[in-house]
């Protein structure tokens, strides 16, 4: 990493967890009290206008219900009331194509929640960007190709979509600079070993478009390996990945999520303690501990649906805590029962090492990192 990166980029934690900064939640957890998630990762719809080759959402199908304006407004109010800190609109659908997308961001920010978005950015034209950027902590664009034709092939979109997305990224960077907005703009490459040829073109594209960062991460797969991710294939990419990182400059950081890539899809822990700290909600409104359990196959872990029941009721219900307790109990084994490296992985690793007394989570010192509410 360049030593002279601006402070907000320098302070980003792109390959780790900020759980240590939330000591009050950790203490409540250890006392056996009920505590609100720090972050909820969700989508406003399960649908998507792309068909990415690496898309995990293909494996997450469950009963769809439309999340309308009433449902999302009540949900955000409930989150603020019970003490949720950040909402990331990522999860298992392209939230920007939901009619309630802009309202959700503005309302969330109004009730005091930190809001963030992960998107393919295809529909985010300049007008929409003007409306949402002032309310966001970060906006991350999923882009797994740096060249027109390969982008189209990998992301299941037309080649012209590449040009439009590049324009939208240029616009968001410009608006941010013009208004000096605190929002972080990032690009994310979900990397399968067969996209190797796109690592450097994408890192160079980033140099040109000037977002704050490009993060390159592994691709998750389910426990059956349905997406066909070849985890052993990441080994041969190390030099190229390091070359991409070397393209970082004073205002643009290329960062590889090494810890997950080097883990080869394996977990060091069996209990899952992370879900109540970092909860996921499907674009169908389904509340389940995590995205890997969205599919109807895992019905026994499903808590309820925010379209039918207020979130605060679900959160306070014994059923919610029964599910969370199952994951933390000897009845559950994440090494055997889960797909590869979930969103909660880094939180799980930290909490597990803490529980085992191997690496206690001590209150961190110094200035808090950026995006604190996205754990």
């Amino acid at each position: 990493m360049s030593a002279s990166l601006p402070e907000h980029v320098e302070k980003l934690i792109l390959d780790g967890t900020k759980i240590g900064w939330h000591q009050e939640r950790l203490a409540a957890w250890e006392r056996g009290e009920r505590f609100a998630p720090i972050t909820i990762d969700m989508a406003l719809t399960r649908a998507c206008n792309y068909a990415c080759h690496f898309c995990y959402a293909m494996l997450q199908e469950n009963d769809r219900q439309p999340i309308d304006k009433k449902a999302i407004t009540e949900f955000l109010d409930d989150c603020a009331e019970i003490g949720v800190k950040g909402i990331s609109l990522v999860s298992d659908g392209e939230s920007t194509i939901s009619p309630v997308f802009i309202d959700a961001i503005q309302h969330g920010a109004r009730v005091g929640l930190s809001m963030a978005v992960g998107t393919n950015a295809f529909v985010l034209n300049r007008r929409k960007l003007e409306e949402i950027l002032p309310h966001l902590t970060y906006l991350r664009v999923n882009i797994s190709g740096g060249e027109r034709s390969r982008y189209a092939q990998i992301m299941g979109a037309k080649e012209s979509a590449f040009d439009r997305v590049c324009q939208n990224i240029t616009d968001m960077v410009e608006i941010k600079k013009r208004d000096n907005l605190p929002v972080t703009i990032g690009l994310q490459m979900v990397l399968m070993p067969e996209y190797e040829d796109q690592i450097l073109p994408l890192a160079r594209l980033g140099q040109k478009l000037r977002p704050d960062y490009l993060v390159i991460k592994h691709c998750s797969d389910n426990e059956e390996g349905d997406l066909g991710v070849d985890y052993s294939g990441y080994d041969r990419l190390h030099d190229t990945l390091r070359a991409a990182e070397a393209l970082s400059d004073d205002e643009y950081r290329v960062s590889v999520k090494w810890s997950k890539i080097l883990a080869e899809g394996k977990r060091s822990y069996q209990r899952c303690y992370g879900a109540p700290f970092l909860l996921q909600i499907s674009g169908s409104g389904l509340v389940a501990p995590c995205g890997m359990l969205f599919n109807d196959r895992y019905k026994k872990f499903h808590v309820g649906n925010i379209v039918e029941t207020r979130f605060r009721e679900l959160f306070h219900s014994d059923r919610y805590w029964e599910v969370m307790n199952y994951l933390a109990s000897p009845s559950f084994n994440a090494q055997k029962m889960c797909g590869s490296l979930c969103l909660q992985h880094k939180v799980n690793e930290a909490l597990d090492a803490h529980r085992k007394g191997r690496l206690p989570i001590v209150p961190p010192s110094g200035n808090p990192p950026a995006h604190l509410n996205f754990v």
Partner: protein, 345 residues
């Protein structure tokens, strides 16, 4: 709850002097009378807490008071009341007792039945004959001995502590649990396994996430003994640290493995039907249609079953099937496919 001993005594003395009637300290300690002898005073205090149905309590003694405390005498005075933990530091001494209600028969806890069962035959009590590869760890006057084989599996476990105490029953249950577990698994998950085993189907002791220490402080003793045993093992053994990361997967029972797929299905379906009946539901409401990866029973659900109740019901049925058939069975529904196909490049 952590109380400061010196403050308690000072409060007591002040109130003796200033309050003529209705003199009392904390509700919790309303029958407590301090004694110039600190050990006796603490015995009075913990008995008072026990009488007030307090389950666990810690008392902080300042360094000057702690200096005068005879620890062995304190142990023999308090050990019978519950699970004792004494911690000395530069701040003095913290004396903690948990499971206070459990030595008498008046305060049922979610662990009582199981502890009583284990207390009937303390088969693992007493030091073992000296044999190779035995690690020994002592915490709060309780000693755990583990004989560990070359595969890092605990072959035999023994313990020593005052008999006729909650601690003895707890350690009997612990020794029984440990045998057959790898030492790393015991150190990492032994305490939570023991909590789950002793509690069985009883309600969770806390409203949030159950962890050994928040369930009952007596599991803190278990944790310390097991971690102590692991570090003792690491010191004597030429062990491979990598083994700690592999993760222990519960072996399947020979009986389950000896069954054909059809027989396995029949066994799961019989257990499902029995459990559904016990819940007052149609025994045909749910049945397993095939077994994947040896332990995953994929079930089909009758359309009449209310979908809202299905998630919790599945979890409950899984527990029953695990109890009746095989402890690691998972109940899953068939995967719902996305309307789009996964693209191959």
């Amino acid at each position: 709850m952590l109380l400061d001993y010196q403050h308690l005594v000072e409060d007591y003395e002040r109130s003796l002097f200033h309050v003529l009637r209705g003199q009392r300290t904390l509700d919790l300690l309303e029958t407590w009378v301090p004694d110039p002898d600190v050990v006796r005073s603490l015995l009075n205090l913990f008995e008072a807490a026990q009488g007030a149905e307090c389950d666990s309590l810690s008392v902080q003694l300042s360094p000057p008071i702690a200096l005068g405390v005879d620890e062995p005498a304190l142990h023999s005075a308090l050990a019978d009341l519950g699970v004792l933990h004494i911690e000395r530091s530069s701040n003095g001494l913290v004396v903690s007792l948990s499971g206070l209600g459990k030595t008498g028969h008046n305060l049922p806890s979610v662990y009582d039945d199981s502890l009583t069962r284990f207390g009937k035959n303390l088969a693992h009590a007493g030091a073992p004959a000296p044999i190779e590869n035995t690690v020994q760890v002592t915490v709060d006057s309780c000693t755990l001995y583990l004989s560990i084989n070359e595969q890092q599996v605990i072959e035999r476990a023994r313990f020593e502590c005052p008999r006729n105490s909650t601690t003895a029953r707890l350690l009997e249950a612990l020794a029984d649990l440990c045998e057959g577990l790898p030492i790393y698994e015991a150190a990492d998950h032994g305490a939570i396994r023991l909590e789950a085993r002793l509690r069985g189907d009883k309600p969770a002791p806390v409203s949030g996430i159950v962890l050994p220490e928040n369930s009952d402080p007596m599991f803190g003793l278990v944790q310390r003994l097991l971690r102590g045993a692991l570090s003792a093992f690491q010191q004597i053994a030429d062990h491979q640290p990598a083994a700690s990361h592999a993760g222990f997967i519960e072996p399947l029972s020979p009986l389950w493995l000896s069954l054909s797929q059809e027989e396995q299905l029949r066994a799961v379906n019989a257990a499902l039907a029995a459990a559904l009946c016990a819940l007052g539901r149609d025994p045909q409401a749910l049945c397993a249609i095939h077994i994947e990866h040896e332990t995953r029973a994929v079930v089909q659900v009758a359309p009449e079953l209310p979908t809202k109740q299905l998630p919790a019901l599945l979890m409950r049925l899984e527990t029953e099937v695990r109890k009746r058939v095989e402890p690691t069975i998972e109940l899953l529904l068939a995967e719902v496919q996305d309307n789009n196909k996964v693209r191959r490049l």
